[in-house]
Symmetry: C3
Subunit: 262 residues, 3 copies
């Protein structure tokens, strides 16, 4: 599917945090998408109307940015383009948790992506997860959290971790590609949300699009880790790999598993 993304060169509008703007833009350019960032309420509707997808990332929230998120989100919903919500730091402060919940409630979000702690914070139950007795491993917990969030918010959910989980209650994907150096560079999750948004623009199945985005991203990380074994050189090699990785490499290296939930 990476070929379709590169052919379409989708315009991905980000309202995101100030830590990752540069890396996100460079990652999307390297992949072959077209990123744009804008924070102001004054232009949020017009920008969303011109875009192919919208990413809302709450990593450095402030009130005027929240206003812009709602304006952009409503315009995106009106146009019918996908919205990815990245609830960075949900659970760390109530401002983040509440803002993320409000975005989920008032906008039609297409996909929610976070780590297990962030998604649990949005669910709001510290352990009151369905099937909790069956949870024996970290992956079990991630899957339970992903299913619970997908059900509660009626939205496909990606939970990122050593293995990435995608589910919409009907299907569940496990993607085992990636490298642990990803957690040593800032913004690797934020950029991933932009990559998923890009894949959503070329595939109507949101879970399949997300699983394919995760596989592409993880394969690029594995390729990068062969060249750069420390965070600085890994980051450079990762941008190179996002540019280079193609269909054949993905097919050869993919560790993607799909299950159908009853």
């Amino acid at each position: 599917m990476i070929e379709k993304v590169r052919e379409k060169r989708p315009l991905i509008y980000h309202i995101t945090n100030t830590v990752v703007t540069n890396f996100t833009a460079n990652g999307l350019l390297a992949m072959g998408a077209s990123p744009v960032m804008a924070d102001a309420e004054e232009e949020a509707a017009e920008m969303a109307a011109a875009a192919d997808a919208l990413v809302l990332n709450i990593g450095t929230l402030h009130p005027s940015q929240v206003k812009a998120m709602f304006v952009a989100g409503r315009a995106a919903n009106k146009k019918g383009i996908p919205i990815v919500l990245d609830p960075v730091g949900a659970g760390a402060t109530s401002y983040r948790t509440e803002t993320a919940r409000q975005l989920l409630k008032e906008l039609n979000i297409s996909l929610l992506r976070g780590n297990v702690g962030e998604i649990k914070a949005l669910i709001g139950s510290d352990g009151n997860i369905q099937g909790v007795d069956a949870i024996q491993t970290e992956v079990d917990e991630m899957e339970a959290v992903a299913k619970e969030a997908a059900s509660l918010f009626s939205v496909p959910v990606v939970v990122s971790g050593a293995v990435d989980i995608v589910t919409d209650e009907k299907d569940l994907y496990r993607v085992a590609n990636g490298d642990e150096l990803l957690i040593r560079i800032t913004g690797s999750g934020c950029l991933l949300s932009g990559v998923i948004a890009s894949f959503l623009t070329v595939n109507d199945s949101r879970t399949e699009a997300a699983a394919d985005a995760l596989t592409y991203y993880g394969v690029a990380a594995e390729k990068a880790a062969m060249k750069g074994e420390q965070p600085g050189s890994f980051q450079v090699a990762f941008l190179d790999a996002l540019y280079e990785v193609g269909k054949e490499e993905i097919q050869k290296m993919a560790k993607q598993e799909k299950m159908t939930l009853s």
Copy 2:
């Protein structure tokens, strides 16, 4: 002229977008200039009064930043230091287009730099370009747009593209240096505006200063592309090249052409 820039080490005050602050600062430091960024109305006048040039970049506008731009711009005009305007995304939203036009109207801008779409948006005529019948190539169009903008706003204009155009209605330069990987890294245009601003501080001929800045920048990109063939490694090599490239290399590799318009 790069030697003069490095000797002077000009202080370039940027009010710019949050995506490119880091890359712009690193690029100017690598070249040998001294960048400073500040957004607040509270300090814009003092900062401009201390600077050797001012760059206004509208890439992530918001109302308080626009106020700071006008305060800084007036102080820069009062002091007589050059102002470069980079109308990032003009045409994408009316907020950007209108803000850029207002800055052009109310401040004494020394040079306007953008891509052909941005400059066309500021002109406001979708094709009503003088000499439109003679436009057969992309470069023809860029030159027509640059001349039209230079005339309309009474300011030297740089239109960036595969070939860069500089004109002030009297002279026109074509600079063919550069590498297409520049469009795969974010902020390459924004940094270029800072480089041009630096060259303006050591040469009273604004078109010549801009043409020399473009040549230096393009030669550095060509040198970088020999070492880094993907976006991540290219960006690293480009910062290295901005630091290393000197007079001799520029003279040897320059593809600069000057024409005198009637």
Copy 3:
């Protein structure tokens, strides 16, 4: 002491400038700390209450950020976690100088770090430094300024330069590690403040913690300069070195000198 930092993985909350957020976060992740950035008054108290240390950096101030700094600072003081103040650009504008002085006055700052010009601006005396007759070298001046600031503000002070000075009026350290390429990359001082904050979380002696942080940082820079001799490649190698440098290398390469003041 780097081992203790890596074991603790302290959460360092930054309210910092938009130029260096990405590099600071990447540097702290590479070292083994856990950075978080947040600007909004709405969440500053909660974030500070969750953190192990707070860094206040005035590099791109605006009024709402200043409010967040005071809220975060009071919460940090209440919790008893260290606060490092980095007065970027103090002296360049009165807004910066006054804000830094107010932070020093109204909060219980644990350590002040800046270059000699910034610290002099906070003292407010252009040369009225105690023992001024004895000042014959740049290092003499740095030491006099550091002592004066430590006395005036009753806080340990780090003055960064070719040699770094740490003093609290009782002890004085000189750290001669480092590389001049550090001044060719933006944010090297800002990241250093985050590194010092991290070391403060594992050592009750603030001057010793700062001296050890400076030594670790300088050794990493020296190691990086062997691999990357230009700013772009140096920055990559520096992040790698922050990740790799360990106790043995530090002990072998350290140029740290301690003196007891009367």
